[in-house]
């Protein structure tokens, strides 16, 4: 699915070196690392907002260096850590914007597009809010809307930047449940950055640990071992 080969990520000097890493479809990866370790930079480099220093990222065997904006928007969907809502924008219209890569120059959605939007809203469980203003929702409801919008974009890859940061405990669990469900049902590759180690361990997620400029795939560690790894004591 996503393949990194001799990829150097960073700004002027490399912050992260990824020698050889493959992320698979149908899985949810938790990207962990201390503040400033480069989690956001890593995600922004996959989306192309942050240019690679060297190397390449292949997604479904397509070089992302050469892909244009529309191809990228059909491959990767991105969810920011917080969606504050937008005045006078209803949830339905917000989700509909996720179809932008597929609509014509006027941006009009086909019946099929609208059916898909409604189907996604049902799957995520936000169908009751469709006519509501995005400003009128709670933080948890808005985060689900933001994820629904990303799913409406119908991409094989879904990236989320600290999606659980502003959620209460119950909503954090709902978030992970939804991500696992989406990855499994739609065979998406999902990567989300987080500081909620307990949440990820409880849900047996696979970790991508960022430490000292290297990214390691780790599995089945307990909390102490994981913290030790991130602190550099292991």
């Amino acid at each position: 699915m996503i393949h990194f080969k001799q990829t150097e990520i960073g700004y002027k000097s490399p912050l992260i070196n990824v020698a050889d890493l493959t992320l698979e479809a149908g899985k949810v990866y938790a990207l962990v690392g201390r503040n400033g370790s480069g989690k956001s930079t890593f995600l922004r480099s996959i989306t192309g907002q942050n240019p690679l220093i060297s190397g390449d990222i292949n997604i479904n065997s397509v070089s992302f260096k050469k892909a244009n904006a529309i191809e990228k928007s059909k491959t990767i969907a991105f969810v920011e850590s917080k969606f504050d809502g937008i005045a006078f924008l209803s949830v339905a219209d917000y989700l509909a914007l996720g179809r932008a890569p597929y609509t014509n120059a006027l941006g009009r959605l086909s019946q099929g597009d609208w059916d898909f939007v409604r189907q996604v809203a049902n799957e995520i469980g936000i169908e009751a809010f469709m006519q509501k203003d995005t400003l009128s929702l709670s933080d948890g409801e808005r985060q689900l809307c933001a994820i629904a919008r990303a799913i409406v974009q119908e991409t094989p890859v879904l990236l989320l930047d600290e999606p659980s940061a502003f959620l209460d405990y119950a909503n954090k669990q709902i978030l992970v449940d939804k991500l696992l469900q989406i990855a499994n049902e739609k065979q998406k590759c999902i990567v989300f950055s987080t500081h909620d180690l307990d949440l990820c361990i409880e849900n047996k997620l696979e970790f991508l640990a960022l430490k000292n400029n290297t990214l390691t795939k780790v599995n089945g560690l307990n909390k102490l071992e994981l913290i030790g790894l991130l602190e550099g004591n292991l």
């Binding site: 989306t47 907002q49 904006a69 529309i70 990228k72 928007s73 059909k74 990767i76 969907a77 991105f78 920011e80 937008i86 005045a87 006078f88 924008l89 209803s90 219209d93 914007l97 996720g98 932008a100 890569p101 609509t103 120059a105 006027l106 941006g107 006519q131 203003d133 974009q153």
Partner: protein, 332 residues
């Protein structure tokens, strides 16, 4: 889908009210003109008839100029608000007007004509508007808060007005007079034979705006999210710059600076229509913008005998408190 019903109702009602306002605007002047004179002024024009002459040479051009100015400034304001994701943006507060005014001042006060006589003033104002627009767009990348963009615009306005004052001091009496008249702002400066050109520019700007409805709708999410949905941000910026500079330059050249219409009307339209669909917002801004300036101009003509109020003074009287209202709503 309740939303779109509300919008349809709004558009139907304002389409019905608009001709009434326009008709009232035509008839409000000091000399009474009958409907048949208006009709004849278009279809069977007799230049020896004073009423028909008045209708054809003064009332119609003024009506069209008021509509174009109100609608054009509102549309320009809407585009800048969406691009900068900032309800306080507008051609006046961002200094696009100031750029146009500065160039006009340099031309009128120094007597240097940049272009041939007929299109001279328009081209001069357009260049000033474009230059100010490019300046603003290059500055915006460095600014984090919505209010600082406004401050930069106001500073730019102060800076240009300082240069204008300097030019005024060192210019000849005759040049000063023609500039002062222009800077007061008036909807009556336009000549009948200039109308086709103005309408051509105006329609061109509206068509361009309609073509970028999809990018505008995406920009509501912010530039980052929009570009991840496939938006070509640089292209969109250039098109928006072209439309806003075109409208602002054109209108400033003919009517002088008109403040706050471009800021207030797009906000009013969003509040009334409760939508972020720019196809509806464009229609709403055109209707509300032209109606708003027509109403202002009707008021000016009603009190004409007591006091000669320049259009810019009236729109500032209404607009400045409105900006404070928006600020309080945003910042609370």
């Amino acid at each position: 889908m309740i939303q779109s019903q509300r919008i349809n109702w709004f558009l139907v009602v304002s389409l019905l009210i608009f001709p009434l306002i326009a008709y009232f605007h035509l008839t409000v002047g000091q000399q009474a003109i009958s409907i048949s004179d208006f009709k004849n002024a278009i279809f069977a024009y007799d230049s020896t008839n004073t009423a028909q002459l008045l209708a054809r040479e003064f009332r119609f051009p003024r009506l069209i100029m008021a509509c174009v100015a109100g609608a054009g400034l509102s549309l320009a304001g809407m585009l800048m608000q969406t691009l900068f994701n900032n309800p306080l943006a507008g051609p006046y507060v961002l200094g696009i007007n100031s750029g146009a005014s500065l160039m006009v001042a340099i031309s009128l006060l120094t007597g240097i004509q940049f272009f041939g006589t007929n299109f001279g003033l328009i081209s001069t104002a357009l260049i000033g508007a474009f230059a100010a627009g490019i300046l603003m767009m290059s500055v915006v990348g460095f600014l984090k808060s919505q209010v600082s963009l406004l401050l930069v615009g106001l500073m730019f306005g102060s800076f240009t007005s300082a240069i204008v004052s300097f030019l005024e001091i060192s210019s000849k009496a005759e040049q000063l007079k023609s500039f002062t008249l222009w800077s007061m702002g008036s909807l009556q400066n336009v000549l009948l034979e200039q109308i086709p050109l103005i309408l051509l520019f105006f329609v061109f700007g509206i068509i361009l705006s309609a073509l970028i409805v999809k990018p505008l709708n995406l920009l509501v999410l912010g530039e980052n999210a929009a570009s991840l949905l496939g938006l070509k941000i640089q292209q969109t910026r250039i098109v928006i710059l072209i439309i806003t500079a075109l409208f602002t330059g054109l209108i400033t050249a003919f009517c002088g600076p008109i403040a706050f219409v471009g800021l207030a009307v797009p906000n009013i339209t969003r509040i009334l229509l409760k939508t972020q669909n720019h196809f509806h917002l464009i229609a709403g801004n055109l209707l509300i913008g032209s109606s708003f300036l027509l109403l202002c101009d009707i008021l000016i003509q009603l009190i004409e005998n007591e006091i000669q109020l320049p259009i810019n003074v009236l729109t500032s009287l209404i607009g400045a408190p409105f900006v404070i209202f928006v600020l309080i709503r945003k910042m609370k």
